[in-house]
Amino acid sequence: MSALAAVPFVLYLLVIAAMPLVVARFWDHNRNKLAVALAAALPVAIYLVAAAPGGAELLADTAREYAAFIALLGALFVITAGIYLRGELAGTPVVNTCVLAIGAVLASAIGTTGASALLIRPLLRANAQRRHRRHVVVFFIFLVANGGGLLTPLGDPPLFLGFLRGVPFGWTLGLVLPWAMVSAALLAVFAITDRWLYRRELPGLRRGGGELHGPRRGGREPLGLEGGWNLVWLAGVVATVLVLGALSPRWPAARYLQIAALVGFAALSIATTPRRIHEANRFSWAPILEVAAVFVGIFVTMVPALVVLSDRRASLGITRPQQFFWASGALSSVLDNAPTYLTFASLATGVVNASGAQLSVHDLGALAAHPAGRDLLRAVSCGSVLMGAMTYIGNGPNFMVKAIAEQHHVRMPSFFGYMVWSIAILAPVLAAVALVVF
């Protein structure tokens, strides 16, 4: 396939990165995003059907993959929006560190978006009286909105894309070492930083009547979870993905059943969740509709791009796991990490094929099982997920967390200011991971 076939994918990624800066008001509307996505996707779709061998089949597979992807993201988005953590936590270093640790685990179970949406507001409420809160949010983005999602395909969209392309559900559990290293290092740095800042703030907090250790006069609202039915629907989602995902290679209808089941669980969540919980979580369909619109363009334009990348792996000179880790990570920092993951997974397939294997870019399960491919895919998975935290635009929940924090009057760093944090704190941790793991 001609290298030109990859141009729409590259252009489209650049467009969706630039649009919010250049024509923010236009890009605010999801119908405009869909129009841009279709404008990018249609010529590629026509080219695939009319000119590429097996293109129509590829396009059909892509459509199914897209539907499954959006169904899972949508189901997790809707169900986690039905869970509300009420009550007041104390904004002490111990509590903050524990919340981040819980989030780092929870993200793999309910997705980074779900865990972020569930925990960020209670954490901000807990720290409302603190003078220094910015670091809490920045570490939250590192740990909960990104790194925590490394352990399962439910955790982060790139890993679910891998799962849809055949990577076994349990395969990502093998990434526990980098997950543990990153989580432990970041939690340790956070705990020390927060403790130091807290001690500096303590006299002021006492003067201002901020009682962070004990119950307030009149009593602190006890902690509690509302929307418990959604935990059941969440378990249903996990079971659906696990069981039907495992059946789908032998029973193709399972793929469609999986999509239907995910939509069903989302519908059950909507039906059983009281409106006040959605209001408390400020639930809106807009974010998931935006994802659905933008990803139409990504899924279609990346079909030829992935084939081109796999065919031309030699010209890129990326062959070793460390290179895959840093290259996929660098791109994930500035583009969405889901297409980045597939891009480099395809490149890894090409690298493995160069040694005589016959792997398909559409079957990443084979890549995960291949002795050399496994290491490359581990590097791509870690790079895509962990380095999504390097900027506000690397992963979907990053900007959500930033915006919610700013609504709570936390002065968040600018785009480049945030990168100073991530380069100073996250990059050294990731460098250590790269040295030890790859």
């Binding site: 969706i16 919010p20 605010d28 995003k33 807009a286 635009i393 929940p397 959500m400 915006a403 002065r411």
Partner: protein
């Protein structure tokens, strides 16, 4: 005569309102409070991740509503305090970039008062030196910068004068604003040579005399920096206001050369009169 007072939430602006009310009663003058909603910076386009646009919209709407609420609160407080002092008063709430909005309003008024630590971009930034410095550099009209803590001194005024066009302009502007009324005015020149300093200061006094203001020359010979020497002399003579003609250089030139004006503004514990 109308005095423009820039309203926001810092302690120095709270103090600046007190100073403006005092001036309005003394001169006499009317007061115009200006509150700014920094809408362009709040809703400025930002790089957003996929799925982040609606969160950005919610955040923008919340911050804008918050900014309007704050502006309304500061205006109400200003109106109550001014009316309680018996001063003629009105207020403006404007949406726009703070420096641009202030610079649009400054020429329409005889004198502008602003707090030293003003932050009109409080919804998006911790500090906003840019707005204050830009207003000082571009105003072309008399300004008074007020610190958050004022050490009570006498009613005297110390005007720094070095014979430069900037200091001549400041002296003229000071006379025009009638701030000398009821005050003992001192014109100070800092120089290594005391006799020369006295001569230059006397020239400043002569200029003020032509404008109908009586002043006393002060020659300052000191091993301290110019800014510190002026502030020390001001404290010694009980000056409740320091006056300077000068400008705020760019951050780079300030870093390299320093700025007497900037140092005086940052370290003064009395209002600072400026005209660039």
């Amino acid at each position: 005569m109308e005095i423009l007072i820039c309203l926001e939430g810092s302690a120095s602006t709270h103090r600046a309102v007190d100073v403006a009310i005092d001036l309005a009663r003394t001169l006499p003058a009317g007061l115009v409070g200006l509150a700014i909603v920094d809408a362009p910076d709040i809703v400025a386009g930002a790089a957003t991740s996929i799925g982040g646009a609606s969160y950005r919209r919610d955040r923008d709407a919340a911050l804008l509503a918050d900014a309007h609420h704050h502006a309304r609160g500061w205006i109400d407080d200003f109106l109550v305090r001014s009316r309680a002092a018996g001063v003629a008063v009105r207020a403006l709430e404007i949406m726009g970039r703070p420096a641009d909005m202030i610079l649009t309003e400054v020429p329409r008024h005889d004198l502008t008062v602003l707090g030293r630590d003003v932050n009109f971009r409080y919804e998006t930034q911790d500090h906003d030196r840019y707005t204050r410095d830009r207003v000082l550099r571009r105003a072309g009209r008399p300004l008074i910068v007020v610190p958050d803590r004022i050490v009570p001194r006498g009613s005297a005024v110390l005007l720094a004068y070095d014979g430069s066009s900037a200091s001549i302009r400041a002296l003229r502007s000071f006379a025009d604003t009638r701030l000398a009324r009821g005050r003992e005015v001192h014109v100070a020149t800092v120089d290594d040579d005391g006799a020369r300093a006295y001569e230059i200061a006397s020239g400043g006094c002569a200029l003020l005399a032509e404008l109908g203001v009586r002043a006393v020359p002060e020659n300052v010979v000191s091993s301290e920096s110019t800014a510190a020497a002026l502030l020390s002399r001001g404290a010694k003579i009980g000056a409740g206001m320091i006056g300077l003609g000068g400008y705020i250089p760019s951050p780079l030139s300030r870093l390299v050369w320093g700025s007497v004006t900037h140092q005086v503004i940052e370290r003064a514990t009395v209002p600072v009169f400026l005209h660039y």
